[in-house]
Symmetry: C2
Subunit: 232 residues, 2 copies
């Protein structure tokens, strides 16, 4: 009985494992498809289970809550980000490493999740999350748990201990806050492409230092919003 399940293991396993993985992914697909179409709270677990032709009870054996299935894919993306962060050269200062890791994670997001759901569905899911209060709450809580992991990685890079030095947690807190802001603005903009969220993310991350430094009245915003950069 393991709720956790590294997506790319269980390849050399028996029929039982394959079947499990199939229903697992089918539940995700059905849930996201239904929820993005009719709305999260207008979609019942019974509907999702019925779409995959399993009992409601079985759904709850794969996902402990209704929210869980929505974030199943996010989990993979997060793992990817952490991986990218750990791979960053030690010379980069913390905020820069975070920035580069997250941009890299966006870049090869497609390959990672396409085997489970279409990327377009994942993007729609992201927007649904941002527009559903209950999911926003869950998303924020998950993010704050992720922050703890990130802070530990940053502390490791700098040879510090999160228990005695508050700085890792502080940068990560600032970083995560800005990440969420970017995600939210992207969701509101209605643009559904991976490029646009990448661009929004980059733009806001690069705005952190100037914004924190203060002295706004004597400087101009670090990016001109009227002239958007071309999508890479």
């Amino acid at each position: 009985m393991r709720a956790e399940m590294t997506p790319r293991e269980g390849l050399r396993c028996g029929l039982r494992e394959r079947k499990k993985r199939r229903t697992h992914d089918a539940l995700i697909r059905a849930a996201l498809e239904l929820c993005t179409q009719q709305g999260y709270d207008r979609t019942t677990i019974d509907e999702i289970a019925e779409a995959v032709d399993v009992s409601q009870r079985t759904f709850f054996r794969y996902f402990t809550t209704k929210e869980d299935v929505v974030f199943a894919v996010q989990e993979i993306v997060e793992a990817r980000f952490l991986e990218a962060l750990r791979a960053r050269p030690a010379a980069e200062p913390p905020l820069e490493a975070l920035r580069n890791a997250v941009l890299l994670a966006w870049d090869d997001l497609g390959q990672v999740i396409e085997s489970i759901i279409p990327v377009e569905l994942h993007m729609r899911t992201y927007q649904m999350i941002e527009s559903t209060p209950a999911l926003v709450a869950a998303h924020l809580r998950r993010s704050s748990e992720l922050e703890e992991l990130i802070a530990t990685v940053i502390a490791g890079r700098e040879g510090l201990d999160v228990a005695t030095d508050p700085r890792p947690r502080i940068v990560v807190a600032a970083f995560s806050g800005v990440m969420r802001l970017a995600g939210r603005l992207w969701g509101e903009a209605g643009e559904c492409s991976v490029e646009s969220i990448r661009a929004t993310t980059e733009q806001h991350l690069d705005g952190i230092i100037p914004a924190i430094a203060g002295e706004w009245r004597k400087t101009t915003p670090q990016r001109d919003h009227a002239s958007k950069p071309p999508h890479a």
Copy 2:
């Protein structure tokens, strides 16, 4: 039918209003007392309603969700903070204004909420929130809504528009992230006093700029954790 209710209105009103306010406050007190004692999810709405001697249905006429009653007092504190922020001299740069406003808000917190519940109960509530996943989620969501208001105030101070300039939202995002971090660490520390949370808050806010600036290896942490400043 108004769920919102400025706490200090309804003084010159009739018996009906007074009665309503009494049950409203009684529900808050009962809920917080029960939840902090036996835990949030081991406390049912029926229990709370029964403690105040009203029906479960009546509870839901005062608070739309079980979470709402937990955050009823927080709402007052938040309003207080916004008020303090608006009163900050225009000369202060954004982050400094935020810092000073939040510290002021902590200072006269006692007077504001003592009429509803004992401050000590409010502090215990804060810790309960931080140690209850469902409440952490709700708290984060509420905070993110508050962020939007704060960003507007900051933008107003600087003569900017949040729709065109991302900097207000960025500072606020960083600020809120750090605020939450401070609150969480305070909760884990077990210290239940107002002074200790004030001190933790101040310390972490003052760490933002140095932490963001990077170059950690060439500098020392801006505060020594071994020698705590005396409680004011």
